[in-house]
C-alpha cells in the first residue's frame, strides 16, 4: 500500500473509529448495568428503580451534581499523584499512604496552631500536608534510586503503615473527649472555604489547577519531555545526560506532595476532623483512575468523574434501599472489570 492510499484510508476510517468507540463504550456500560442489576435483583431490589434513583440523585439535581464534584476531588488529585510518576515509569501504588500522612501532618498543624487566623493556618496546613505526603514518597523514591527496593513494593508496604501512624496519634493524643477514634472538630479557621452553597471546597480548584499544570508540563516543558524519555527507556535517557536518579526521587516526592494535598483537603475540607481509617481506598481509586486513563489528563478528568458518580450513588442506595454502602464497590468493580477486560480497545501502554 502506498503512503497516499494509507493516509486516505486513515481519514476515511476516522469517523468509523469514533462510532466504534462510542458503540463499544455503550456496550460496556450496558454490560456493567446488567451485571450489577443482577446483583440488585438477587438482593431483592428493583434495579431500574435503583438506577433512576442513582441517576436523579447524582446528575439530576444541582445538589447531586455538587456531591459528585465533592467525591471526585480527592480521586482526581490522587490520580494525578499516580499519573505523574507513571510518566517516568514509576509505579506509585502508595497514594493511599501518602494521603494519610498528608492528613496526619495537616491535622497536627490544625490542632497545634488553632489560634492562628485562617489566612496563616490554611497555607500552613497545606504545606504540612504536602510535606507529609512528600516524606512518605521520598522513602520509595530514594530506595529506588539506590537500586535497593522496587518502588511498587515499598509504596505498598508504606500504605499499610500510614493508617496505623494516624491511629497512633488519634487514639493516643488527639482524640476528642467524646470519641476515641477521631479528633475534635477543627476550628473554623482550619476549614477550607466552600463555594456555591454546597460542600465543594477550595481543593476542587486545586485539583483543576493541578490537572492543568500536569497537562502543560507534560506537553510543553523540557521536564515533561525528559520524563517521557525516562519512562520510555531509562538507560537511554541516562546516556543522554538526564539525571535519572535525581528525577526518580524528585518525581516521586512531587507525587507524594500531590497525594498529601488530597489528604489535607479531606480533613480540612470534607470531614473537618481526622477520623481513623477515613480513606478506605481513595488512593487506590486514584491509582485505578490513572491507570485506566493511561495518565492522560482529559482521561483522568472523565474517569474520575464517572467513578465519582458511582461512589456518590452508593451513598444514596444505602439511604433509600438499605443495602450496605460498601455494595456500591461491586458496581465500581464491575466497571473496572469490563474496562480491564477489553484493553485491546486502547493503545497498549504500561501503567
Amino acid at each position: 500500500m502506498s503512503r497516499k492510499d494509507k493516509r486516505q484510508s486513515q481519514s476515511n476510517s476516522l469517523l468509523r473509529k469514533a462510532l466504534d468507540l462510542i458503540a463499544r463504550y455503550a456496550l460496556m456500560v450496558l454490560v456493567v448495568l446488567l451485571l450489577f442489576g443482577l446483583i440488585l435483583l438477587i438482593s431483592g431490589k428493583d434495579p431500574i428503580q435503583s438506577y433512576t434513583d442513582i441517576f436523579s440523585a447524582t446528575l439530576g439535581s444541582s445538589y447531586g451534581f455538587s456531591e459528585v464534584i465533592v467525591a471526585m476531588t480527592p480521586i482526581l488529585i490522587t490520580a494525578l499523584a499516580v499519573a505523574l510518576p507513571s510518566r517516568t515509569g514509576l509505579i506509585n501504588v502508595g497514594g493511599e499512604g501518602q494521603l494519610y500522612m498528608g492528613a496526619c501532618l495537616a491535622t497536627w498543624g490544625a490542632i497545634t496552631f488553632d489560634s492562628l487566623p485562617a489566612w496563616v493556618l490554611l497555607p500552613l496546613m497545606l504545606l504540612l500536608g504536602m510535606l507529609g505526603g512528600a516524606l512518605w514518597a521520598f522513602i520509595p523514591g530514594y530506595l529506588k534510586s539506590l537500586g535497593l527496593v522496587n518502588e511498587t513494593i515499598t509504596t505498598l508496604l508504606l500504605n499499610s503503615v500510614a493508617p496505623k501512624i494516624v491511629a497512633f496519634f488519634v487514639f493516643g493524643f488527639w482524640h476528642s473527649p467524646m470519641d476515641t477514634n477521631k479528633t475534635s472538630n477543627f476550628v473554623s479557621a482550619a476549614r477550607l472555604p466552600t463555594f456555591f452553597n454546597s460542600r465543594i471546597d477550595l481543593s476542587f480548584f486545586f485539583a483543576l489547577a493541578l490537572l492543568a499544570a500536569f497537562w502543560y508540563v507534560m506537553k510543553y516543558s523540557r521536564w515533561g519531555l525528559e520524563m517521557r524519555a525516562i519512562g520510555g527507556n531509562p538507560q537511554a535517557a541516562k546516556r543522554n545526560g538526564i539525571p535519572l536518579n535525581r528525577y526518580w526521587v524528585i518525581i516521586m516526592c512531587i507525587g507524594g506532595v500531590i497525594a498529601g494535598l488530597a489528604g489535607m483537603a479531606q480533613v480540612s475540607g470534607y470531614y473537618g476532623v481526622l477520623l481513623v481509617n477515613f480513606s478506605r481506598g481513595l488512593g487506590f481509586m486514584g491509582f485505578l483512575v490513572s491507570w485506566l486513563s493511561f495518565g492522560d489528563p482529559l482521561g483522568i478528568l472523565v474517569t474520575s468523574f464517572v467513578v465519582s458518580i458511582i461512589v456518590t450513588g452508593g451513598n444514596l442506595l444505602q439511604l433509600t434501599s438499605g443495602i450496605p454502602y460498601a455494595v456500591i464497590n461491586i458496581l465500581l468493580a464491575f466497571t473496572l472489570f469490563v474496562v480491564l477486560a477489553r484493553p485491546v480497545f486502547f493503545k497498549r501502554k504500561e501503567a
Binding site: 530506595l143 527496593v149 496505623k164 480491564l340
Partner: protein, 306 residues
C-alpha cells in the same frame, strides 16, 4: 508475669497467624507463576463472609470451611480472566478485585452480622490433655491450625519437587521459554490462581469461622496486603513463609505481652513492625541479585495467538 500469661499470649499469636500463613502460601503460588495478586483482600473478604454464612445456615463449620475454600478459588478466576486471558495490568486488576470483595462480602455478610456460630471445634492432642486443665485449654487448636505447617511443606513439595511445580516456576521466570519447552502458561497460571485462591479462602475461613467467630465488614483489616509483604519477605519460598507468619504473629504476641506486663506501647506502632521489618530485610538483600523475584513477575504473557 506468670507462665500462664506467656503461654496464653503465644496461643493467641498462633491463632492470629494461621490465616495469614495460608494466605501467604496462596500468594507465593501466584507470584511463583508470575502474577502479583493485590486482590487477596477482596478474595479473603468474600470467602470469610461466604464461609461464615454457610456455617450459620447449616450449623456445620466444616461445610463453611469447604465453601470458603472453593469460593476463594472461584473468585480468583475473575482475576485469571482479566490478567491471563485478557492480558490486563495485574496491579489494576487486583485492586479492582479488592473493591469487588469489599462490596460483595458486605452484601453476603449483611444478614449474618452478629450471628452466633458453632466455631470450628478444638481438638486436643493426646500429650496435651495430660497437662493441667488451664494449660491444656490454651493448646487445644482447631484442625486448620494443625494443618497449616504441613500445608507449607506440601506447597513447598508441590513447587520444588514435582514436574507441575517446575512448570509453574518456569512460567514465572520466563513464560515464552516455558511455552517453547511445551508448557501452557495460560493453563498453568489459571491453575496457580485457583490453588492460591483456595488457600486464601482457607485462611479467610480460619479467620471468620475459627478465630473471630463473627462477620463484620472489612474484617480482614489488611491481611491480604500483609500476605503480599510476607511473600516478598520470605523470598518467594513456602517454608520461609512460616518464618514470616511467625514474625507477624510474634509481633502481635509481643504487643500483647507488653500490654499484660503493664508497659505502655501503642498497639498501632507495634502493628507497623512487620512492614518496617520487611522493608529493612528487602533493603538488606536489595543489592544482591541472588534471591530475586520470579523474573517475569507482573509481566503480561502475550502468548502465541497475537
Amino acid at each position: 508475669m506468670s507462665l500462664l500469661a506467656i503461654l496464653g499470649v503465644i496461643s493467641s499469636a498462633i491463632f492470629s497467624g494461621t490465616s495469614l500463613l495460608y494466605t501467604t502460601l496462596g500468594e507465593t503460588i501466584h507470584q511463583r507463576s508470575g502474577i502479583v495478586n493485590l486482590g487477596l483482600e477482596g478474595i479473603m473478604l468474600i470467602s470469610a463472609s461466604a464461609g461464615f454464612g454457610i456455617t450459620v445456615m447449616t450449623g456445620s463449620p466444616y461445610l463453611g470451611v469447604l465453601v470458603a475454600t472453593i469460593t476463594g478459588g472461584l473468585v480468583n478466576m475473575i482475576l485469571g480472566f482479566l490478567v491471563v486471558t485478557r492480558r490486563a495490568n495485574q496491579l489494576a486488576s487486583g485492586l479492582a478485585l479488592m473493591f469487588f470483595g469489599f462490596g460483595l462480602s458486605a452484601l453476603i455478610g449483611k444478614p449474618f452480622v452478629g450471628a452466633k456460630i458453632n466455631a470450628l471445634p478444638r481438638i486436643s492432642l493426646p500429650g496435651i490433655s495430660n497437662l493441667p486443665i488451664l494449660y491444656a485449654s490454651l493448646f487445644e487448636f482447631d484442625i486448620l491450625i494443625y494443618l497449616v505447617i504441613p500445608m507449607a511443606f506440601l506447597i513447598w513439595w508441590l513447587l520444588f519437587r514435582t514436574r507441575w511445580g517446575l512448570g509453574l516456576r518456569a512460567v514465572g521466570e520466563n513464560a515464552d521459554t516455558a511455552f517453547a519447552s511445551g508448557r501452557n502458561p495460560f493453563l498453568i497460571r489459571y491453575q496457580a490462581l485457583f490453588l492460591g485462591g483456595m488457600l486464601a479462602g482457607l485462611g479467610a475461613a480460619h479467620l471468620s469461622i475459627a478465630y473471630t467467630m463473627n462477620w463484620s465488614e472489612y474484617m480482614t483489616a489488611g491481611r491480604g496486603f500483609i500476605a503480599v509483604a510476607l511473600v516478598i519477605f520470605s523470598k518467594w519460598h513456602p517454608l520461609r513463609a512460616i518464618v514470616g507468619a511467625l514474625l507477624f504473629s510474634g509481633a502481635v504476641a509481643f504487643q500483647l505481652l507488653l500490654q499484660s506486663s503493664g508497659v505502655q506501647v501503642s498497639p498501632f506502632l507495634l502493628d507497623t513492625i512487620p512492614y518496617i521489618l520487611t522493608l529493612l530485610v528487602l533493603m538488606a538483600w536489595g543489592g544482591t541479585r541472588r534471591h530475586a523475584a520470579p523474573a517475569s513477575l507482573g509481566r503480561v504473557y502475550q502468548g502465541g495467538q497475537q
